[in-house]
């Protein structure tokens, strides 16, 4: 059981960014409670359901073949991580906040012309897509929350045995879990 808890915590860490982003978006909606329930239940049902199917296959066949590697180089994680922290440090200084605030005001002051240049047309289209996405979140939001939960639940499953996209900690835990002859 301890190994499963460690494994789950490692998995929770790798999904933290996506989960945190979704929870933040949901909490800023007008009625967050039903959205949270919808997101949580669909994620839980989908991840448990798909994990059970994988378990059934593993019990019957002993292995799952045909997985593909989606591992990203650690250097990319480090570079993107350092850039994100640098952006955070810059944005938390008074000068950084002033500069970013000025840029945002400048962007909002100039309305994109749908009949204008290619750049203007792209900006107008982006604004249109953003407005439609916001409408979808406000109106059909419970369905949206269910869908997002299902997608994240299926993604969580991809970190179970049979997939190569394990973190180093997860792989170590899985190995110790599988090689142990006693119950976890």
């Amino acid at each position: 059981m301890q190994q499963i808890i460690l494994l789950a915590l490692a998995n929770a860490g790798s999904l933290l960014v996506q989960l945190l982003a979704v929870v933040l978006v949901i909490l800023t909606r007008p009625r967050p409670k039903p959205l949270l329930w919808a997101f949580w239940l669909s994620a839980l049902v989908v991840s448990c359901g798909v994990s059970s199917i994988v378990l059934a296959v593993l019990r019957a066949e002993g292995t799952i073949l045909g997985t593909t590697s989606t591992a990203v180089s650690p250097t990319i994680y480090l570079v993107v991580g350092v850039i994100a922290v640098a952006v955070a440090v810059f944005a938390s200084t008074t000068r950084g906040r002033e500069l970013i605030g000025r840029e945002i005001e400048k962007t909002q002051a100039t309305e994109p012309n749908p009949e204008g240049s290619r750049g203007d047309r792209a900006r107008a289209e982006a604004a249109d897509v953003k407005a439609r996405a916001e409408d979808a979140l406000k109106q059909g939001s419970v369905w949206m929350a269910l869908l997002v939960g299902a997608v994240l639940g299926a993604r969580h499953r991809s970190r179970w045995p049979g997939s190569d996209s394990w973190s180093a900690t997860g792989t170590a835990c899985l190995r110790s879990c599988c090689s142990s002859s006693s119950s976890p």
Binding site: I4, L27, L36, I76, Y77, V80, G81
Partner: protein, 78 residues
Amino acid sequence: MVRNGDGLPTQLLLILVFALITYLVVEVPVISYALAPDATTTRVEAFSTWLGTHKIQAVAAVAAVIGVVLIIKGLTSL
């Protein structure tokens, strides 16, 4: 887990425990709403208002969390 020879109920229970721990970030506000709905609603509304007036600080905090998670992920994958 499969090779350990655990029974099916134990394995299904482990799958549920694994999923529950994975979604802890979502469960905290869900449980809070269930236990203290009024207090949670007040707190969430205050947080939402703060977020509306402090967008840059909020983005900076999210960027910091993402950055630290990615650096830890990068270091553990080395």
